[in-house]
Every structure is written in C-alpha cells, then in structure tokens.
Amino acid sequence: MNLLFYISALVAILATGMVVTRKNIVHALLYLVVSLLAISLVFFVIGAPFIAALEVIVYAGAIMVLFLFAIMVLNLGKETTEQEKQWLSPAAWVGPALLALILAIEIVFLITQGQPAASVGLVVDPKTVAIALFGPYVLGVEIASFLLLAGLVGAYHLGRKDTPAAQCNCEGDRS
C-alpha cells in the first residue's frame, strides 16, 4: 500500500509537470485529467474514499469538461484543423495513456487484493464526514451554496450577448 502512494504521487507529479510545459491546450488538459485521477488514487490510499470519489466526479468530470467546452467555444481559428491532424498522431495520446495505465494497474491491484478498506492512513469513512458536514459545518454548506449561486449568476451575466446599447460604449474595440 505504501508503494501505491509513491507510484501515484510520482504519476501525479509527472502529469502536472507535463501540464505546465505543454504548448497545446488540449494536450495539457489530458495530462491534467491524468494528474487529477492520480491525486484521487492518493486520496483513496491515504484513507479518504469519499474525497477520492468527489475528486473524480467534480474535478476530472465536471471542471475539466467545463474547460473543454470553453476551449471549444473559443474555437481558436484556422490552426485548429491542422491541430486536428496532430491530435490523431500517437505522440499526442501515448503519454497520458501510459500514465493512466499505471493508475489502472494500481486500481486492479487494489480490487484484487480484496480489502479495499485497508489503507495507509486512518480511514475516515463517508458517514463521519457527512455527520460533521451537516452538523457543525452546516452554515458552511449554506454559504458554499450561495457561492455557487453567485458563480452561476456571475457567469451568466458575464457570458451574455452584448446588446446594441452596450456595443455603442466600446465601438472601437469590437471588430
């Protein structure tokens, strides 16, 4: 189990290093997904299974898809068609695939070992987290929901189409 922690940490560090050095945004995004999956495995190994699931669902699932949508909406011009050819080359996906394969082998090892609850640190199960979250921390939950609502309204307000009146205020900048 100790070894699993260090392998996952190494995969996460390698993938994060690739994230900050890639030139292509989508490649960096692929590596970021691998990095988040590796961090999720680290969470599982050190005894936080609920947080590991949240990491996969919210970070690797929702937030990364949001990034991908934004990149697609930007539609960065003519070079995207040439990039499309490059994306089909093995060099684009073999790195993330190898790192993800290491993680998959670790997960298979964890499952076949037959005792998924045996982890390195002290296990804090989801029930304890939920009791604390909706007990002493319930005010924080309410504030977090307000924050998410404010994020929703803010994103909607910023992302709206410009009305003609608004365009008149900055006619020089728009083309």
Partner: protein
C-alpha cells in the same frame, strides 16, 4: 501497519503547489494560468486531506469539499471571463489585458 509518514504527503502537496505556482508565473496563456491555479487549489486541499487522515478527523475532508465548491465557482466565472477576453482582444495573451481601462 506500515504507513506513509505525513511529511511525505505534505512534501507531495508542496511539490504540486510549487508546480502550479511555476505555471502561474511562467505561462502567458490565460487558460494555462487558470489550469495552474486549479493545480494549486488541489494541492492545498490535498494538504488538508492528508492532515485529516493523519489525525483521523473529518474536518480536513470537509475543508476539501468547500475548496471543491469554491474551485467550481471560480472556474465557471474565470472561463466566462476568458471567453469575453478572447472576444474582445482576439488573443489569450494576458499582457493584452494589462490596462484596466475598458
């Protein structure tokens, strides 16, 4: 049971955080900067979770849940701002938006 020392987990979180910080400082593409901020938030949350597993208390994991909600709100607003920036300046270079006047 042999366990990972907390120091190793914290060193790991520190390395991740510094990599994200390096990305924020070194890159000029604003999408990369936002991704690096995500990495930094994640590393900070990881330090909380490692501390939670060290003492067997749920408080660190709850902190991570709050960080997660904050990151989701931040990313939605940040990506919208990036789209507006690109519509306006037709570039993702942060230096293009160095002036505050609209």
């Amino acid at each position: 049971m042999a366990s990972v020392p907390m120091e190793h987990g914290l060193i790991f979180a520190g390395i991740l955080f510094s990599m994200g910080f390096l990305g924020v400082l070194a890159r000029r593409n604003i999408i990369f900067i936002l991704m690096s901020i995500e990495v930094m938030l994640n590393a900070a949350g990881m330090a909380f979770v490692i501390a939670a597993s060290r003492w067997g208390q749920p408080d660190g994991q709850i902190m991570f849940i709050f960080i997660l909600a904050m990151a989701a709100a931040e990313v939605s607003v940040g990506l919208t701002l990036i789209i507006r920036l690109y519509q306006r300046f037709h570039t993702l270079d942060t230096d293009a938006a160095s002036l505050l006047r609209g």
